[in-house]
Structure formats: C-alpha cells, structure tokens
C-alpha cells in the first residue's frame, strides 16, 4: 500500500471527475459564475446522479412516504437524483473500508461522504490527497456557515469540507442517583461515583475535556499537555473510577441508571431526556468538546454536483427541514429563525441550537495530535487494558 501513484492511476483519476485540473476548468473556476448554459467545460455540468453516503437516520424522513423531502426537492430544483446510501456507521470502520480503493487510486463511487472530525480520518484523507477541493464558486451559501465552525484546525479555510451536523461533548448525569456533576475533576475524583462513570473511547472526544480542565488548550497539543491529561485519565482507569470507555453505547446504561454520570453527546441526551426527566447535560465550565460531521468529496467524485448540493443544504430553509428531524446541532445560520416559526420547541432547545457562549466554550481536538502515533498508541493501550 505505497503512496506513489503511477501515471496510469493519475490519468484514471483525472477522467473520473477531477477535470477541474484541466486548464479550461481552472479558468472557469476563476471566472466564478455558475451559469450552466454559458459554460462549455465538463466541470460545470450537473451530473444526473449525486451519490451521497451518510450516517444512518441522519436526514429528514417523511414517515408516511418513506422518502427524504429535501432530497426530492433538490431533484425538482436541479434535475439531479440523489442516490442516498446510509452505509456509514463508524468513522474508523468506514475508513478501513474506503482506504482499500483510495490507496489504489480507485474511485469509491461516491460524490459526498460524511466523516467526523473528532477522529483522525478527515485530516488523514486530506493529508493523503484522497479528497477533492470544493468548488466554492458553486457554494455562495457558504456565508451561512456558523462562524465558530469556519476555521477548524484540520481544514482552516474549509477548502475540502463543509459541516453537515455538529454535536457537543459534555457531562451528563442522572439527578436521581447523584448530585449534579458539572466538572471533569468531580467526575473523575468523586469517590461516590466510583465505577459508575464512563468516558468516551475516542481520544478526540475525551481529551479536549480533560485538557480544558487542566487549563491546557486542546487545539494545540504539546507533549507536556498530553502527558498531563493522560496521567489524569490513567489514574482514573487504574483506580476503577472509570467503568468503561464507550462509543455511544453509554446511552443505554445512562438511561437505565447503571451510570451516574458520563461523557455524553448533546444530541443523544436530547433524546434520552425525553423519556427520562432525571437526565441532564452540561458543558463543563472549563470547556467542553465540539465535533462536526463533515461533508467531503472523495477522490473521483463529481466536484461540481457535490458543491451544488452543499450549497442547497446551506439554504436556511433546507437546513431547517433536516434539523427538524435530526436534532443535532445545525451549522447553518438562519435555520433557527426558520424553525422558530415552524417548530419553536426545537428552536428554543439549547442542546440543538446552543448559545454563542456554549459554542465559544467548546473545542475541537488538535488534528496533529489525532494523528500522532505515539499518542494514539498510548491511548489505545490505555482503553484496551
């Protein structure tokens, strides 16, 4: 699995849709109009089909017709059918699958995929050159992107990605079983919580909160700050304070009272709260985590069509329609206003539309640290005994 590309592979990629590399393509991009009629170059034509891979149950659904209204509306507006596949259910596993073809220079037959930036994979994809740059000239609505999400450390100019949904990582607790747990030190050192808490198994989920509690900046990790945070977690593992490291399977035990408190994602707690009024969620005062599921264009995907779709999603009305169903955090400014009229209960829920203060207090994890072999090997050894 060496990285070198043969000329044959380069050619294969170019014909598969990276045509913007051609001179006319570049000129057209500079020209900046998206008038389909005027353009004669291949890259400004909408494909008949947009192949979109996403996570399960992550887009609006009409339960009666079992269709996705926003996708149908997109077809009506542009004539492009969206071939929507829900075949992503875990970043690592999905990457494990697509790295096969991508490392051989083959296309994975997708125009848009969605991966989370609390994992190393979006930055790894960019580093390996396995994603295409967005055609920003086709995405004027990019101005609607939530300001705090505009410059993530792994894609500072949003050249390759656009958020689909976000989530916050904080501490959830069950008020029937424990006093409010609002800080990381309380969670990890309170003897009453011994064996009744879990942390998240993603290093990019857990470490931002630990580092923030230590007073360090999670977006700029150094050996020193890493070691400090690692020591804190290791102590809690060895003492038996931490029961398990979970993916989102903390939701069952939290709902049933096996856990008094845990690191949890805002979107999950929105749903769990509805059935169990004793569950609460907060960003730790020192700082919480924010993660984003990002739309990316894999190599070989049709850049223009994908970009046009992204522009469509960034219309507040469309984003609001999806948000009304998905209930994670919407990255599109203006969607809240739309929902205030149509579904106020969702618009007013700060777990779905967090305040500016909340967003300012939530941090990404340093992508360089996510890819640092020393760190991640140590982390995996810690969570796997």
């Amino acid at each position: 699995m060496t990285d070198g590309l043969t000329r044959l592979q380069l050619l294969r990629r170019a014909t598969a849709g990276g045509a913007f590399l051609t001179v006319p393509g570049v000129l057209a991009a500079c020209g900046g109009t998206s008038k389909k009629a005027a353009s004669t170059t291949a890259n400004k034509t909408l494909a008949k089909t947009l192949r979109f891979s996403n996570w399960t149950l992550y887009i609006d659904i009409d339960e009666k017709t079992k269709r996705h209204p926003t996708l149908d509306a997109f077809k009506k507006k542009t004539g492009t059918t969206v071939q929507y596949t829900e075949d992503i259910n875990d970043n690592a596993t999905y990457f494990g699958k697509i790295q096969g073809p991508l490392s051989r220079g083959q296309s994975i037959d997708r125009d848009i995929i969605v991966m989370t930036d609390n994992s190393r994979y979006p930055s790894l994809l960019i580093k390996k050159g396995w994603v295409e740059k967005l055609d920003k000239s086709a995405i004027p609505n990019i101005k609607n992107l939530e300001p705090t999400l505009q410059h993530p450390n792994w894609d500072p100019n949003r050249d390759y990605s656009l958020p689909w949904q976000s989530g916050l990582t904080g501490i959830a607790y069950n008020d029937k079983l424990t006093d409010p747990v609002l800080t990381v030190p309380d969670l990890l050192e309170n003897p009453k919580l011994k064996g009744k808490i879990t942390l998240l198994q993603g290093v990019g989920d857990t470490m931002p909160l630990i580092m923030a509690a230590n007073g360090d900046d999670p977006t700029k990790v150094t050996d020193a700050s890493w070691n400090r945070a690692f020591k804190v977690v290791k102590k809690a593992v060895d003492s038996g304070q931490i029961r398990q490291f979970t993916g989102n399977d903390y939701s069952g035990p939290l709902a049933k009272g096996d856990l008094n408190a845990c690191f949890a994602w805002s979107g999950d707690v929105v749903q769990l709260e509805a059935d169990n009024k004793h569950l609460h969620w907060n960003l730790p005062k020192d700082g919480g985590g924010i993660w984003t599921d990002n739309m990316l264009i894999p190599k070989g995907g049709n850049v223009y069509t994908a970009s046009v779709y992204m522009n469509y999603y960034y219309e507040p009305k469309v984003a609001a329609a999806v948000e009304d169903y998905v209930n994670y955090i919407c990255p599109v400014v203006g969607a809240k206003e739309v929902l205030l009229k149509e579904d106020p209960s969702i618009a007013k829920n700060t777990l779905i539309f967090p305040t500016k203060a909340m967003l300012a207090n939530a941090h990404n994890f340093d992508a360089a640290a996510l890819n640092n072999e020393k760190y991640i090997t140590a982390w995996q050894n810690l969570i796997s005994g």
């Binding site: 060496t2 580093k127 029961r243 399977d249 049933k256 096996d258 969570i383 005994g385």
Partner: protein, 285 residues
C-alpha cells in the same frame, strides 16, 4: 474404509474439490495477502514496504501477551460453560423432542435473528445494576453491596457463552440424536442404572459431538472482541479488541496482521493438542 468405493480413488478428491477450491480462492488467497502484510514495515503516512519484518510477530507476543492469555482463558471458560449448559439441553431435544425437534432447534438459534447489538443491549437491561438479577445476587450475598455484573469479566464470559451457545448445542444434538435408543434399553435390561447407561453408552457415543461443539465454540470465541467491548471494562479486553484497534484506529496493518497470525497459530496448536488428547480420528474425523 468401506468396500463401497474401494475402486474409486478419485472419489474423495471429487468430493473435496468444490469446497476446497472455493476456500482456496476466497480464503487462502486473502490469507496470503494478510501474511504478506504481516511482514511489512512502515506506517500509514509513508506507506508500507515488505521487509521480512519478523519483528512484528515478536512485538505482538511481547506487548500483548496478557491479552492473548486472557482471550484463551475467557474462551475456555465460556466453552466449558456452554458444554455444561448445552449438553443436557441437546440431550433432552434429541431423546425427548419427538416430532418437535426441529422447532426446538429453531429456538436455540432464535437469538441470532435479532442482531448481536440488540440482544446484548437486552442483556444489559437484564444484568443492569438496578435490575432484578443483580438485586437478587446482592441480597443473597454473592455480590457485595456495591457489586455489579456489567463491565466485569463475568459479564464478558457470560456474553461469550450466550452468543456461542448454538455453536455448542447444535453439534451436540447432531451426535446425540443418532444414538440408537435400543442400545440404552439393552443396557438397562442388563441391570445398568440409568446413570450408568448414560456414562457407558450415551456419553462415549456422543463424544464426536462434544469435540465438534468445543472446537466450534472455542476457536471463534478466542478471537471475539465485541463482548469485551460492550460488556467489559478496559481490564477485560481481549486480543480481538487489540487487533481491531490496530487495524481501524491506528491503521497499523502489519501489526494487526501479525497479531492475527499469532492468534491463529496459538489456537491451532491448542486444537492439535486437544485432538491428540481426545484421541484418534474416530472422534475428530
């Protein structure tokens, strides 16, 4: 061997050919690729190169010896438990099942119809800290006041036992069902007690099933990762979890490949010893 096919030397090969060719193409070839990977060195950034990196194997054993041993332990205990629980059940279905045998077999594999995740979540409900089982165990004194079942090695072994139960029960049934009941009656006519008849007649005749069941349970269980992930704490993780993380999170394919081979070799050595101990081809074919 029977006189039936004494003249046809090619018959065994023609019987074997379809299956073995299939396995040859779709298992051995991928395995070869895996072996090649296990001897590579490098990392994901700069790529991998084949360097006869036997050090990968040595590293795997050295760094994760505890996990290997733990996996064999858990799989072994689970296999024994599955045998103890499964034998009487298979016996009952074989001898008392009558015409309902097939339906009863269906009930044994029923849990597989609801996917792994759902049935594990259901067990998490049953074994919850505030649930009925743990409460009873606490009252009875088996568990301390703060004791729990989930996120312990007990839960992991229990999960493995449950999930591999059909792999033990079905081969046991297959072997028990063909025992001619008249042999047992004859033994009893000769004044053997029911228990003695069982020990002297039924048990020995069912040994092929016991061997088959233990192998079909132990071997895959040793490489399992999911029970440990959902039901265990970090101290309970098995080698399957490590291989999983090497491959997915750390994209360290040579390490994952070499660890897999160490696991496979260990298991196969144990199987060979087991077959030797249990004795002849009569039982293992």
């Amino acid at each position: 061997m029977g006189f039936l096919h004494r003249h046809r030397n090619l018959t065994p090969y023609s019987l074997l050919a379809p299956g073995l060719l299939y396995l040859g193409l779709f298992f051995v070839v991928p395995l070869g690729f895996l072996a090649y990977q296990s001897l590579e060195s490098g990392n994901f950034d700069v790529g991998y190169a084949f360097t006869w990196a036997w050090g990968n194997y040595w590293d795997a054993i050295r760094n994760y010896r505890g996990h290997f041993i733990r996996s064999l332990e858990y799989a072994g205990i689970a296999t024994v438990l599955a045998l103890l629980f499964g034998y009487p059940l298979a016996y009952w279905i074989a001898f008392r099942g009558g015409r309902w045998k097939n339906l009863l077999l269906l009930f044994i594999v029923a849990p597989f119809f609801v996917t792994y995740l759902i049935r594990t979540l259901a067990w998490e409900s049953i074994l919850a800290d505030h649930g009925p089982v743990v409460s009873v165990l606490r009252d009875v004194g088996i568990l301390g006041n703060d004791g729990r079942l989930l996120a312990t090695s007990t839960a992991v072994v229990a999960g493995i036992t449950y999930n591999f139960f059909p792999f033990m029960a079905l081969p046991l049934y297959v072997s028990l069902e063909q025992i001619d009941q008249r042999l047992i009656e004859a033994a009893q006519d000769l004044y053997a007690s029911k228990w003695k008849a069982f020990l002297r007649i039924t048990l020995p005749l069912s040994l092929p099933g016991v061997v088959a069941g233990t192998l079909l349970t132990f071997i895959p269980a040793a490489g399992d990762f999911i029970n440990a992930q959902l039901l265990g704490s970090p101290k309970n993780h098995m080698i399957g979890n490590v291989i999983q993380s090497k491959f997915l999170e750390l994209t360290d394919y040579p390490a994952a490949a070499s660890m897999s081979f160490v696991l496979m070799a260990t298991i196969l050595v144990m199987v060979a010893l087991y077959a030797r101990a249990v004795g002849t081809e009569k039982l293992t074919g």
